[in-house]
């Protein structure tokens, strides 16, 4: 069994961002008596930063375990996907730079109505993806072209099967 967590440094950074955000939106609200439009904007932003802080706190408690049975997320809200029930695996890459570099990845898993979304901030994310991809291939899950390329970019080569050839035809 392998276990993965969100790194403490990353979580702390998120908590600081959330705190700073809440501070700079709450201060004008409390001190300067802004107009109604500005109040709506500031309250909206304050709530967004608060949700971000709660998410960071939840992630601090979160642990992801991969075993021969399936992938389990424990913490505030537990989830489990049995490998037997795995229906889809999607690895996306997001970048905001013109050259497409310095972005982040997101792994989405789906099985029997349960969905899991894991981000590349997780420590040893490459290993996590590798383990999931191997299991997905064993279960005959088809990867779309984007996922296949993204897997290849982190050194995970796909096994050539009749299903994968079919999937590639869709380009």
């Amino acid at each position: 069994m392998r276990e993965f967590t969100y790194p403490t440094r990353e979580i702390n950074r998120d908590l600081v961002r959330s705190g700073v955000g809440m501070l700079i939106t709450a201060l004008p609200l409390l001190l300067f008596g802004p107009s109604s439009v500005i109040v709506y904007i500031l309250v909206g932003l304050f709530l967004m930063f608060a949700i971000y802080g709660v998410r960071a706190a939840v992630r601090k408690k979160t642990q992801i375990s991969i075993s021969s049975d399936g992938i389990q997320v424990t913490g505030v809200k537990g989830k489990f996907i049995d490998w037997e029930a795995l229906e889809a695996l999607k690895l996306s890459y997001y970048s905001t730079r013109r050259d497409g570099e310095k972005g982040w990845m997101q792994l989405k898993l789906k099985g029997r109505g349960t969905r899991l979304t894991l981000e590349s901030t997780i420590s040893e994310f490459d290993d996590l993806v590798r383990l999931c991809a191997i299991k997905a291939q064993e279960m005959g899950v088809k990867f779309d072209a984007t996922t296949a390329r993204n897997l290849r970019s982190i050194g995970i080569e796909r096994q050539v099967t009749p299903q994968s050839i079919e999937a590639e035809k869709g380009l």
């Binding site: 961002r17 107009s35 109604s36 013109r98 590349s120 993204n150 035809k169």
Partner: protein
């Protein structure tokens, strides 16, 4: 994505603060202010003491007698002025000395018309540039490509105000389109109605074409160059070799990839269009905010100019934010090199 969103918002807030400081400094840089100039003029004309007293009242009322830092803090609403906290974040845009009215009243409909004209121009640029750019790239060195390239260069090289004057004459001579303004005279200072909207739409054709021409030409060139780069990549050749239909092999990835710089420009497009339309608005007598900004800067009507510049800065920051988020979401999300990083 949520983390990215939060990081960007966190950067946007101090960015706007720094812009507000810079705006205020720039407006304060020329020696004197609007009221000092007025005072000099009144003294030269030997005007009455009541006018001089009025100017002194304004100076005190709008804190122009206070240090620059305090003036800035009062203007932004961070520091109490003569009327308590009453600045930009409290919804008070200040007072226009030239018009002797609150800035919000002076801008009024002008801001709406400015937005309508510039939004239509942006739509025009995208609608015209996209099909032509794709056509030029997929039919490289064809007669059509050469034709559009020539038109593009003409669009880039022709000064907007010149094009405005030429189009005004010919549009009126051949098509009977009204000259100047953004609506017929009978609708001026009238409440909004269907007739007024139709009149605005009728008058917008020439301004939109004139203001949008250079932007369209630049966009066509950029899209053509990006798409040509993409079409020469190996994955397109592979797709064609595998028998992927021609249109699918074009639209599925190359067009999407070539849209990246297209979308990255959204942030700059809006302020560029607004500042680029100032001279055209003056030539075409458009009641938009551009000429008013020009006049406000010239006469040092600081609250009018400052509030308008802040509005432009806000548009730019929001535009860049939208374009960055769109870039992150743009398909295909394919990674170019190895190693998972954040």
């Amino acid at each position: 994505m949520f983390s990215y969103f939060i990081q960007r918002v966190l950067v946007m807030i101090p960015t706007l603060l720094v812009i507000s400081i810079l705006t205020f400094i720039i407006i304060q840089l020329p020696p004197g202010d609007y009221l000092s100039n007025q005072l000099q003029e009144l003294k030269a004309q030997g005007e009455s003491a009541s006018a001089v007293a009025k100017i002194a009242f304004y100076r005190e009322q709008y804190s122009l007698d206070k240090p620059a830092i305090e003036q800035y803090a009062i203007w932004m609403g961070f520091w109490p002025g003569p009327n308590g906290f009453d600045g930009l974040i409290q919804g008070n845009w200040g007072h226009s000395f030239a018009y002797d009215l609150p800035v919000s009243e002076v801008l009024g409909d002008r801001m709406l018309l400015t937005f309508v004209v510039n939004f239509s121009t942006v739509i025009f640029i995208y609608l015209v540039a996209f099909p032509i750019g794709v056509y030029s790239a997929t039919r490289q060195y064809s007669i059509g490509d050469y034709g559009f390239t020539l038109i593009g260069y003409l669009g880039l090289a022709t000064p907007n105000f010149l094009l405005a004057m030429v189009l005004l004459y010919y549009a009126n001579y051949y098509f009977g389109l009204s000259i100047g303004g953004l609506m017929d005279e009978q609708y001026l200072d009238q409440p909004w109605s269907v007739g007024k909207v139709m009149s605005v739409l009728d008058h917008m054709i020439i301004p939109v074409i004139v203001i949008g021409t250079s932007g369209t030409a630049a966009m066509i060139r950029r899209l053509r160059a990006n798409l040509l780069d993409e079409l020469q990549k190996q994955y397109v050749t592979t797709a064609k070799a595998k028998g992927v239909p021609r249109v699918k092999a074009l639209v599925k990835y190359p067009v999407r990839m070539s849209l990246n710089p297209f979308i990255a420009d959204i942030g700059n497009l809006l302020p560029d269009v607004i500042s680029g339309s100032v001279i055209v608005s003056a030539v075409l007598s458009l009641p938009t905010a551009g000429p008013m900004l020009l006049e406000a800067l010239r006469s040092q009507d600081q609250y009018l100019a400052g509030s308008f510049l802040m509005f432009l800065a806000l548009l730019t920051v929001i535009g860049v934010f939208i374009s960055d988020v769109l870039l992150a979401l743009l398909d295909p999300r394919i990674r170019l090199s190895g190693g998972a990083t954040k």
